[in-house]
């Protein structure tokens, strides 16, 4: 029974962390956007505009819940929530600290599930995340929305392949599919982290994750100048807000996954820094990657669609396969 209660507490904590970070991330995104583009960003609501996100949320919630007459009602209503399911389930695989920690006299593993096939489950859930934008865009019954949906679907499917192949290099090196064991394989200082031997895989994974998240420079799915707002054209009020929320939650999860696979997860860069608890290191690394996403988004212009597909299929896919071949060769020889 205590195990069950501990599990529930862990689940609540994980959902709270990934959802609770979002308002602050939106605020930081807007502040960074201002900084990168020599503007002020939000300034009016609260000190330095820090209450901007909450004001936005109040505005979105008070707006009318609008479903277009020509839209497919049930699908239109469900679609925004689909993005959350894979995000939360992926988050349960991430270890926030070592196993068997003593907290208030209870032995607790600082991970929700030490899942045997964790990395594949993460990839499988990533392929389910496609359905949010695709069904949302289809149900809107709007040409721009449908085009945005098809674009986002094709983009996510294409980049999933190179993303999956990029991780296989790490799997071969760590000899496991379990996130907990992958972190353990990177013990003992930052020179053991996988982003150094797997630099190619790391870069491919990171860029592919931007495409998976539908963020600039790969946000073809909602390209404002061509498609109004892509698959979100017909969405307004809180339903639109839930789409945005889902994208930010996915960004949190994706940064956690990258930190875990390539940057040692909750482990400190030097052994003597282990006194600082693991989850602080993990959150720090996540914030670093989230900052990187924001930096890239507000600095680079958007790619054209054929460029996006060329990068995915003609550069990243062969590169990921070559990376895997070289890694496998070195592992089997050494």
């Amino acid at each position: 029974m205590t195990e069950f209660i501990i599990l529930i507490i862990k689940l609540i904590l994980i959902i709270a962390v990934s959802v609770g970070m979002v308002p602050f991330l939106i605020y930081f995104e807007r502040k960074f956007a201002g900084f990168f583009q020599s503007r002020m960003g939000p300034t009016y609501a609260g000190p330095w505009g820090s209450l901007q996100s909450f004001g936005d949320m109040a505005k979105l919630m008070s707006k009318e819940d609008l479903v277009p007459a020509a839209a497919d009602g049930p699908v239109f209503r469900i679609a925004p929530y689909i993005l959350f399911v894979p995000a939360f389930v992926s988050m349960t695989l991430i270890p926030f600290g070592p196993m068997d920690v003593d907290i208030f006299g209870y032995n607790v593993d600082l991970v929700v599930s030490s899942f045997d096939a964790g990395v594949i489950l993460f990839l499988a859930l990533g392929s389910l995340a496609v359905y949010g934008p695709v069904f949302g865009g289809w149900a809107s019954n709007n040409n721009w929305a449908l085009l945005g949906a098809l674009r986002s679907g094709a983009q996510m499917v294409s980049y999933e392949i190179s993303m999956g192949l990029a991780v296989v290099g790490v799997i071969v090196m760590a000899n496991t599919l379990n996130f907990v064991d992958i972190v353990d394989a990177q013990a003992g200082g930052f020179w053991n982290w996988f982003f150094i031997p797997q630099l190619v895989g790391f870069v491919i994974f990171f860029v592919a994750s931007i495409a998976e998240l539908n963020r600039d420079p790969f946000n073809l799915a909602e390209a404002e100048q061509e498609l109004v707002a892509g698959y979100m054209t017909e969405y307004s009020g809180m339903r639109w807000g839930i789409f945005m929320f889902g994208e930010y939650v996915n960004m949190v999860v994706m940064s956690a996954v990258i930190s875990t696979i390539f940057m040692g997860g909750w482990r400190a860069p030097f052994e003597f820094l282990d006194v600082i608890p693991g989850f602080i290191w993990l959150v720090g690394k996540m914030l670093f990657f989230i900052f990187l996403y924001m930096w890239i988004r507000w600095t680079l212009p958007r790619y054209r669609y054929n460029q996006l597909m060329d990068i995915g299929w003609k550069i990243f896919l062969p590169l990921a396969i070559a990376n895997l071949a070289v890694t496998a060769l070195i592992i089997s020889v050494v």
């Binding site: 392929s127 389910l128 496609v130």
Partner: protein, 196 residues
Amino acid sequence: MVEKVLFIVFAALAVGSGVGVITRSNIVHALILLIFSFVNVAAIYLLTSAFFIAVVQILVYAGAILVLFTFVVMFLNLRQYQSMEQLHPVQKWVALIMTPLVLAEFVVVALAATWTAVGGPFDRETVAAGGGNVALLGERLFNDALLPFEIASLILLVAMVGAVVLAAKEGREFMETRAWADTDEERIPEFVEEEV
């Protein structure tokens, strides 16, 4: 006990959404129910501790294959079932004959089968001792069944190459119908190829 209840829940959801798939007239609703049904089947695999199979079920069926279904449906914009019914008027009558036959076959097989638990060397304890689901499956697959595995992957590769060849042929014909194909020296003009 808990597992039995969970199995009944997931099985009911899987069968229920499966029935929904064939009764919905809206093809996208049917697709969504099919995805839901596959996810529930994956949950049943999880209950039997077949973690790897469960994940592959989601990755291959709910993820890859149904995304392709979705694309086809959206590109062809098959919003209504009625138009499809007009396309295939005979199909209804074929189905009327075939479905009772298949159902009868299932019933006969189910009645003839003896329902005993299949024994095998892999119960939960041996799987846990052997390093988990993935490790054991991988060892078995690449030691005992390497040749069938490679043959299967070769067949899939052939299918993939075939699809690419067919698509490339159609793509080339499509390009030739374009106005710029009149120069008949280069089938695909340079500016299309170098447009990166």
